[in-house]
Amino acid sequence: MAATPTRKAGSSSNILGSRLVVTAFLLVFLTYSLLPLFYLVVSATKDGAALFSSFGLWFSSFDLFANLKAVFTYDGGVFKYWLINTAYYSVLSALGAAFAATIAGYAFAKFHFKGRTLLFAIILGAIMVPPTALVIPTYLLLSKVALVNTPFAVILPSLITPFGVYLMRVYAEQSVPDDLLDAARVDGAGEFRIFWSVALRVLAPGFVTVLLLSFVQTWNNYFLPLVVLNDPNLYPLTVGLTLWNSVASGGGGAQNLYPLVITGSLVSILPIIVSFLFLQRYWQGGLTFGSLKD
């Protein structure tokens, strides 16, 4: 900020001083926030011996490519399946969840119908239901219809996002003008066509936000797939990596698995970090909308 010329030299150096202190304070926390990720990158370049013998926070041997090769070939290349499964579960869950949330949020925002207030209150209340409390009964129910240990067991429960409905309602209320819909109605367009060709275009940024939030939620989910899957070939990355970690921690010469867990972890977070950096405004958009109304 440009200091006003009338300001005394003393006060402007005060401001400079306080800026310096605040920036230094923030820098400390930034270091804390990024240190574990730095450690992950550094460790992914080390072989098993260097991991134990060299200083953890600095580079030693450079075996990143050997580690990557080992990650993708160990145990018949099962990591490849974990990566594909994770992407598959996340993409389908995110598309389905975002679509269902968008069309429901739009209905709440733009239509008056019987039970609207009650339904919305129930959905809002569901935001408070801990997802982990649902997992065990969901498992029991899915096992009754023989869906346990199939991709559906992970994808179907991930399709509901009450928070997404809430976001899309707020978003549709703010961004879709009633005049636009009325104009389309006067032109004789049916409600479904209006949604598809008029409203959805305006709702696209909100749709992407919900898509992204659901994608990351499924990508990072651990408890649900841990419970509903028992075939390692169906595991997502989170469950697979913890499996390797517990084998490595079990000792008995399995310690050579540590570099694989570390390098595999790095591979597993890259897509999320990249999507986060490039689609920042959609992430923050969702959180902004979430806090505006409450």
Binding site: F25, Y39, G56, I123, F223, T238, T242
Partner: protein
Amino acid sequence: MSRGANSTKESVEGSGIKASRSRLRQAAVPYVFLAPFLILFVVFLILPLAYALVISVFADKLVGGTVFVGFENYAQALGDPAFWGGVRRMIYFGIFQIPIMLGLALVFALLLDSGAAWFTSVFRLGFFVPYAVPGVVATLIWGYLYGPTFGPFSQIADYLGLPAPAFLSDAWMLPSIANIVTWEFTGYNMIILYAALQAVPTEVRDAGAVDGARPWQIALYIRIPLIFPAILLTGVFSIIGTFQLFNEPSILRANAPGVITSGYTPNFYAYSLAFVNQEYNYSAAVSFALGAVVVVFSYVFMLVTNRREVSA
């Protein structure tokens, strides 16, 4: 789809049946739009909850198989030291971890919003990055950082001739988990509070500055009260998250099996009951008992903070 010409003809003729049918179709539209979400909502949220409620009042008996036992499982949970041990541990955890995390998040949000530092957008982004890391991976990384053999903290201590910090010991495990959770969620909470601050109209913020109030006074008396609902929201979500703690202890168990018992957190206890002991009925009762604890604590929190808001 009825075309424009068609509907004009309808209104001209005033055909009662046709008009009422189209009105009916019109009335059905929002329900059709809601259907995909509602069907999934009922099948994967309402139904599992109802099912858990039902099985929680049954028990497997050696004689007679599965029988209705009423509130017997709940009575057992109320007298179960493993359940209460976990609940007490989470209360400890929350009393320290939530204020530290939300306090940091609030201070960062205020500092970044007031532009009191350089490179604010870099900090905002950097603080938020840990939220993008899956809880599982965050726990794996911190588990290695804590490690007594090749963890960098142990290496530094060793270099300085000090004993290795026992992050994964019985006494340190809870603070170690609290640190992981703080690392993961401070930036997330900061963004929520920051967004709320950004939504405050500029005239309101500038009003304090014109009166010659000091920055901390503006923060305490104007900006914080204005975003109080957002602070409340982060508080409630943190309480819910704390009682649900599962990933961190279940993964760190591989590093320290002796420290993390099956009842370390209530959620981990419910999981162990169901999948180790196959006690599904009792596990469901424990889950609901935990839900009741969460509701009570969230409610008390709202009550206390709301009273404070009124008196302020």
